[in-house]
Symmetry: D2
Subunit: 406 residues, 4 copies
């Protein structure tokens, strides 16, 4: 048996699913804050992969500070135009010189940002609708060598030491409202947008549950090129509403009301029409860590970490790793163990100890009626222990871009 | 009696003071994130005051996106120098043209930032150690007229409508650990720094309580000009330690351990020495809303709002107002009502209703032993009602710079 | 006969062809200064065309201040990489609002810059090897309406008034050395580069004639991707040398020596190898108006205007128009009139008069032996007069991109 | 006798003083181009002095690319304000690391720029009316060691080698028109401004002589704070006119007409009123090398070098040194030798030879009536030789800020 400090107990609150009021939010990938998260994280992934390719280990970097300055646009039915470009500044630190080799960190960052934007916000012409600039300082020398692929391959430890006291928190399972919010955004930006090009990627989903009634409020940026006139706009809004109502019905038997673009005022001609599908084109600034938490949601009913996860170094940034890992642990436990209604995992690091040995792994559960914490404890503990042991797998998946951070 | 929707009930968890483990953090005013918060908020205050002076009402603006790009420095005993300047970009929206008048929003912002920096981080020579740049877009026209001083003075309503669904949360009283953390920072940056110029404003305080044992960890940037050699540095660290231990003893009878600059390694000459008293000079970027919450603390044991409070428009940004107001309410209730061990106030806005009429004001308490929620309810309700009625007082105090937002 | 003030006289110096020493220089299109000239001028053309398309007239603008900040690169045989991107800032003024319409001047500028770079410096990946940023202020309102296409089409005057006292100077014919220098650059960047991809667009040609001996010195940036090793580099240099020697022999019977990349030091491995074909990738900054004059050359033996021609408004910037027009006049006269060995045309504007009525058009000639100025005067005058009458044709050709400005 | 290659001959044109038409211009120190020249040169001087202080020699740098982006202002009688700040970017290269020492080149540059602005354009509040930013790349390593103070002090050679083929040209004596133009600007920005604070430093002087008639046209930015109303403005303009007429009369017996702010239209309220005394506050961009030549003038009647002198390294930038030195030589010769009506000195460098040994020093004179070139040749030669021998004195004076470059 491991010697990891794993505590399992009951949580001192009701399951969120059973609370009277629940609020959940998700900013879609085209939201200005999410654009920043997405670019920061894709820059981080690109840097990590380049470091591995070039020197066989991930060198010191941290790119968690992308800032977006909104532009100005003149949308019009059938297609308007961006008037003043968006300005986006990638900020951070990266190792540029290592053992006589030079790593083009800024060029790598610019490329990653461009590829990300072209893939996720295709209506936005990079270099025309948006100027992408970069300021990456040099990483300090003594922090550089942090992750050696070969060591790990060779079976040696490969688990870095925690260099900070930090904290991660994860939850499972998602409540119905949470499922609806996250699925709505994913499917709107997935299959729905694929066949409905008028829907831009900047969708913001707010779920509010009061008792047995769920309200889903969607703010959806429509792309003017694909909206011929007001009737087409009204149709597009209604189509989104129906789609979201269908998504919601897959996840709950509760009463669901869906509201789309409620700030519209057709009389005054005030509608949510955009040129590029994102409100960044007109007045909405954004930055990293201001939107979704590591699990993709903003959940005031649950403990959340303030930590910006996106853009951080996935090898040694303990806050990033523990936020992702605690979520993984929570999901694994719930998937494998019956009888758990709500579960919170908190990981607290200790400076100087390997990160697979947290100061404490605190697992708190609400069990189903008739089940005691002690009934599940024996099942839960080895899962937590196993997942902690696999901590570097989190790093690996982040580097490969397989794990979302926002 | 008011018709405000005020709910009072018991909180479904233990008082934080009674929980096993508690973590609290505060980033001091010289921390890169706090510098951004402070500048964003001082720019917002300056804009609001100028709008009132020039046109008699606060026009639309939002300056909650300051970004700091760290510099590079070469500290040295007796005085080193900044090698590459810090770059700070003030980002946001502001009304620049209104009824034929032009308001120099960018110039106002630059002046406010400079004055703030000169006052709070005096070691930092503005325009030499730090470049301050600004990109303020034009506020959209239909959002402009928001707050009319004369209306209010004339006794008319003056309470703006909520234009967003947003959420604020406040807590009281502070736990011992919270008190220690917040007081430590304030007094280090107050009377201590006044007589000990070697202490820079970038102090970061972490409080961790496990049961009856509190650990206070301080990272304190020392100013090289006032540190002659390693011995002086060691003395300075020890002096901080003793001062903090004294502060802590004023707030608790629990066992307290104070740790200062624990990452130092005297053998390797690795110490926390700076030229300007802030880690922004060397590799630590910062941005708004990434640090302290509106009550000045980061408290993972409590619900927190993700909302960045600093830099937002204090007249109509409902998230900012409700975060500040809920904290005010909590503090007032605890000050006036006996028998409350822990209290959380949550305010949820409703689009289109006056902001003094929240969708719900949710007040949840942990009462002292032997006291029921129903015992305090009658006392609590009118206080909440009165504070809600005074909501514009929050706006007024923010504009006057009398209410801290971080 | 016209009443234009045309003076024809003899020039008070020898023909440049007959002077003892002659120095001529041309910076190729890939030189950092020329990149700025080219972008400034392509932005100006794009703005002018868009204004004509959108409002039927060219509105006020001036984009003659592009600034390039060099990057850092690591060239290597077979292909290196750009380490730190080039930063290019397009600076100027443009009308963004006109009669209720909004013109996206910054977006137009960015697009023009990108298209120009992709066409002329194709090795440079825009948005990765080079960041293009833009700061265009608003043109002042009273200067806006300047050029109306319909007026002119309708046969009305259409000739703007001079709004400045300015000066243009042109020369013809080119001396042999001048012909060699300009042709060398054009052909190297034309047919030679088309079949020799190892030659980058940053070629700088210096011609020096002492009596009957011409030295042509070429600095030619080689593109590393197409240079396998030092031998290949040496071959590439020799190939350029032979090509240039052939070009030179087409233009002179004088003795010609060609020198290519004379600063190379093969022993020390110091050669002119680049990743992108321009020295802007490594340490060479650039800006508008610092390189070639309007006729494509730098000619210390001749009067030159300090005026930056590229990027200026071709409708009403009198300096731009007169530099281009005086060159046109000089070339036309020499093409149509025999017996002229050297000719200088100077045009001086007068504020408030139509630009086809200069304060003075000063034509100074060196005639061939046996020919007097009075012999050619009668032929020259009507050509000058005709060309002045066609001044708006210069504007038209600049807008259409048919007239080079550097 | 020296072995320097000094050629003395007659110039193949009339003395400029005797030509029919002469045009001369000077942009005052507050003109946007001159602001850039002034900052570039003060940055260069500061860097050179710091290098000498810190490492005993001037290391590689080049800061000749400052770019100014104009702001927007709202001047008003009695005092208006800057609406959008001016943006100024200092661009160049500088050695930041040398033999284990780090030199804070960007901080030095920012300080020099601020001090220059505060001294020369005091109405402009740095950090409020103008944002000063900096981008200095690292100088390439092999160019670093260029000037060793100790060597020179020890009597060793100390004369650097020319590393480029470049060209400098100087003239003397100034014509009357040139004297009037340069003196007018100096005295307006000197004693006149000292007692007339309403005159801003952005004065632009254009002198035009046709035969015996000189027109002096002055564009003078008035500072609104010191101009109460239109009458005060009219008085201020008239006062400048009278002052300039007096200055002119000190330098010529020819007829002089002085015109001040001729573009004013009092009816339409269009006058040259500014907040800060420079047109950079409203729409006029600027950059280095676009204004005055090294002798402080723009003289289309004389050969001019295209080279930007300001901001270049005074130790090894041969273009800068030769432009300044050729002017010095011309002035010295004219001061010491009688009978010279006009004199041009051209210095052409040769790569790899010491800069006191130019490829050729070409001295061309127009002698007074009755004097032959051969009459003065014996006097001229040793002066030229002596001045060439003292070339490092030019460097020394530039570093000390004793020699103006624009």
């Amino acid at each position: 048996m491991s010697e990891r400090n794993i505590r399992i107990g009951s949580i001192d609150r009701q399951a969120v699913e059973d609370q009277d009021v629940e609020i959940v939010e998700r900013k879609g990938i085209g939201h200005p804050d999410s654009i920043c998260d997405g670019i920061a994280e894709s820059v981080a992934g690109a840097l990590a992969r380049e470091y591995l390719d070039r020197v066989g280990e991930v060198l010191h970097f941290n790119t968690d500070e992308t800032q977006l300055v909104a532009g100005e646009a003149a949308p019009a039915f059938g297609g308007g135009e961006v008037i003043d470009p968006i300005y986006l500044l990638i900020v951070g630190r990266a190792t540029k010189h290592y053992e006589g080799r030079t790593i083009p960190a800024e060029t790598i960052a610019l490329r990653a940002a461009r590829e990300y934007l072209e893939s996720e916000i295709p209506q936005l012409t990079v270099g025309e609708d948006i100027v992408v600039d970069v300021k990456l300082g040099e990483g300090s020398g003594d922090l550089q060598e942090v992750f050696d692929e070969d060591d790990e391959a060779a079976g040696s430890v490969g688990v870095p030491m925690a260099n900070d006291t930090s904290f991660g928190v994860g939850h499972a399972p998602l409540t119905e409202t949470e499922q609806i919010v996250i699925e709505t955004e994913r499917r709107l930006n997935g299959d729905y947008a694929a066949s409905n090009p008028e829907l831009g990627p900047d969708v913001k989903i707010m779920g509010k549950r009061e008792g047995e009634k769920i309200d889903v409020t969607v703010a959806a940026a429509m792309v003017d090129e694909h909206i011929a006139d007001l009737d087409a706009y009204i149709d597009a809004v209604e189509s989104v509403r129906e789609f979201v109502a269908d998504v919601a019905r897959d996840h709950t038997a509760r009463e669901v009301d869906v509201h789309v673009n409620t700030a519209d005022d057709y009389e005054e001609g005030s509608i949510y029409l955009t040129v590029t599908g994102t409100s960044a084109e007109q007045g909405d600034d954004g930055s990293v860590g201001r939107g979704n938490r590591a699990n993709g949601l903003i959940t005031p009913n649950r403990s959340m970490s303030m930590e910006a996860t996106s853009g951080k170094n996935p090898v040694n940034h303990i806050g990033k790793i523990y936020n992702l890992l605690s979520t993984e642990i929570a999901e694994e436990v719930v998937a494998e163990v019956d009888g758990i209604r709500d579960l919170r995992v908190r990981l607290l690091s200790q400076i100087g100890r390997p990160i697979d040995q947290p100061h404490v792994a605190d697992v708190q559960v609400v069990t189903d009626d008739g089940i005691a914490v002690s009934d599940v404890e024996q099942e839960v503990r080895p899962i937590v222990d196993r997942e902690l042991g696999d901590v570097t797998e989190i790093t690996r998946r982040v580097i490969d871009g397989d794990l979302s951070t926002f």
